[in-house]
């Protein structure tokens, strides 16, 4: 780990004022400290934001939307009874990520900004355009089985590893930020960038901009009785997604009146295809319909390496997540969150 200065501001404005090129904000540290250990990240200053006031609460705003401060820990959000009832697939996604210890430390903003798990990104001795613009990409001729099948470029084929972001994308979440230029809102859909020719420009954040909170719109609770997150991984627990899907439906008189579907593990951002959702409107839920929706959601998917298997896997995961959502949100968090195993998975 490189030497760095450590500071702990006590107000949001002090934190932003303390930022300078090469500085990093520190939340739970479970991603930043890890990558500082490998040498992939070498911040000159670490700005500890964990004691900033006013950004550690879950609140309902007058317009009915829900605002979650960046310092709310992943475990506390997943187990907040009111939140879990209103947004069950967000709670399930959180509970399916990492481990009990990591979820206790991980913050909301840190989860959104966690970096790709591409092994070459983490290893400073490998060539990586995302870490070092113009260096090349060792994944192209290396281990690529967990890389992107959608939205990738020749410059970078990495995926976004966050579980949390997938249901947030499906529910039209908004990121509230404050930076040297003041406050603004960024739709989660616009937050993570696809790599294009500049994979190092990972998000819409400007230098020094701080995430204050995430907001979920009031109508995002309307699908709470029919929503699920499903995550396929190499082992049942404590593993990143190969592919995942968040599905939320509203049913009226046996027909679908609203549908949201987002996919994880397939691209550098959570993937959402409006045409796949539209196709389900007014229809009667069923395996065939969900297969067709999944087909459309994966349109344009191309392997970026040894990962052709992910295309069919993602289709099936999306169709299964929709079927699980149609069957109804479980009354209790499943013993194995977001797992294809377990009692509630057979529909």
């Amino acid at each position: 780990m490189n030497l760095f200065d450590y500071i702990r501001p006590t107000s949001v404005s002090d934190a932003i004022a303390a930022w300078q090129p090469g500085a990093a904000y520190l939340g739970g540290g479970t991603n930043l400290v890890d990558l500082m250990k490998t040498g992939a990240l070498r911040p000159g200053t670490v700005i500890d934001i964990t004691r900033l006031p006013g950004v550690d609460r879950i609140e309902t705003l007058p317009n009915g939307s829900t605002r979650i401060g960046t310092l709310v820990r992943n475990s506390d959000l997943a187990h907040d009874p009111d939140f879990a009832m209103a947004f069950p697939m967000v709670a399930e996604a959180l509970a399916s990520g990492a481990s009990g210890q990591l979820r206790n430390a991980a913050t909301l903003g840190g989860n959104l900004l966690q970096r790709t798990r591409c092994a070459y990104f983490q290893d400073p001795h490998s060539a990586c355009n995302r870490r070092f613009p113009g260096a090349g990409c060792d994944a192209r001729n290396g281990d690529s089985d967990n890389h992107a099948i959608l939205g990738w470029s020749d410059a970078c084929t990495a995926t976004n590893p966050s579980d949390l972001c997938v249901p947030l994308m499906a529910l039209d979440a908004v990121v509230e930020t404050q930076g040297p230029q003041g406050k603004r809102d960024i739709a989660l859909a616009d937050f993570h960038h696809l790599p294009g020719a500049a994979p190092h420009q990972e998000t819409a954040l400007e230098p020094g901009e701080l995430i204050l909170a995430i907001r979920l719109p009031a109508n995002a609770t309307a699908s709470r009785h029919n929503s699920r997150y499903l995550k396929v991984r190499e082992r049942t627990s404590f593993a990143f997604a190969l592919v995942s899907a968040a599905a939320a439906l509203q049913l009226e008189n046996g027909r679908i009146s609203a549908a949201c579907l987002a996919l994880g593990g397939v691209a550098a951002k959570p993937w959402r295809v409006p045409a796949a959702e539209k196709l389900m409107l007014g229809q009667i839920p069923g395996a065939d319909l969900f297969r067709r929706a999944a087909e459309v959601a994966l349109e344009g998917a191309v392997p970026s390496g040894d990962n052709g298997f992910k295309i069919d896997l993602a289709r099936r995961t999306a169709a299964r997540a929709l079927a699980l959502a149609a069957a109804g949100t479980p009354a209790q968090m499943p013993a194995l969150p977001a797992s294809v195993f377990g009692e509630s998975a057979h529909v």
């Binding site: 739970g28 540290g29 479970t30 210890q101 430390a105």
Partner: protein, 165 residues
């Protein structure tokens, strides 16, 4: 630049000056505070051997910078027993064969104490296994570990009822 911090470890106040900010809580415990019970496995959050409680919550001490913990309360495996009286989770690990080589055991036990306090698993073996998945055991003593956590959960709930009766 040096950083003076003050924290409570196993009930004792410790004032330490860190020469630089890179020191993790794990290294502080093992190398500065003579508390080697907390183990280093992966040093990257992947194995759970370094689990301790900070302000009552289980976390990975290998990913926690010590400098962030000014004013915090830390409990390690050395702080669980009451004199010669083992903590119920420690006793259950002994009774249920919850280990073989013992390297992962301090982390397993601290994680179990944290899990029981969280209260989401109860005595359901599936929920216990899920809740303990952040702790790997190279000897694969998982069967005994699950039984030990379940037993300790039951015993601690009984003790609580007795105490309030």
């Amino acid at each position: 630049m040096s950083y003076p911090i003050s924290l409570t470890v196993n009930g004792l106040r410790r004032d330490v000056t860190l020469e630089d900010a890179r020191v993790t809580l794990l290294d502080l415990l093992r190398e500065r505070l003579a508390l080697p019970g907390t183990k280093k496995g992966c040093d990257r959050g992947q194995c759970g051997a370094c689990t301790v409680l900070i302000d009552g919550r289980r976390i990975n001490s290998c990913l926690t910078l010590a400098v962030t913990l000014d004013g915090a309360e830390v409990i390690t495996i050395e702080g669980l027993a009451n004199g010669d009286m083992l903590h119920p989770v420690q006793a259950a690990f002994v009774e249920q064969d919850g280990f073989q080589c013992g390297y992962c055991t301090p982390g397993q036990i601290m994680s179990a104490v944290g899990l029981i306090a969280e209260g989401h698993a109860g005595t359901d073996p599936e929920r216990i296994r899920e809740g303990m998945s952040g702790n790997l055991c190279r000897c694969a003593a998982y069967h005994g570990i699950t039984r030990a956590v379940s037993d300790a959960t039951r015993r601690m709930a009984e003790d609580k009822t007795k105490a309030s009766a």
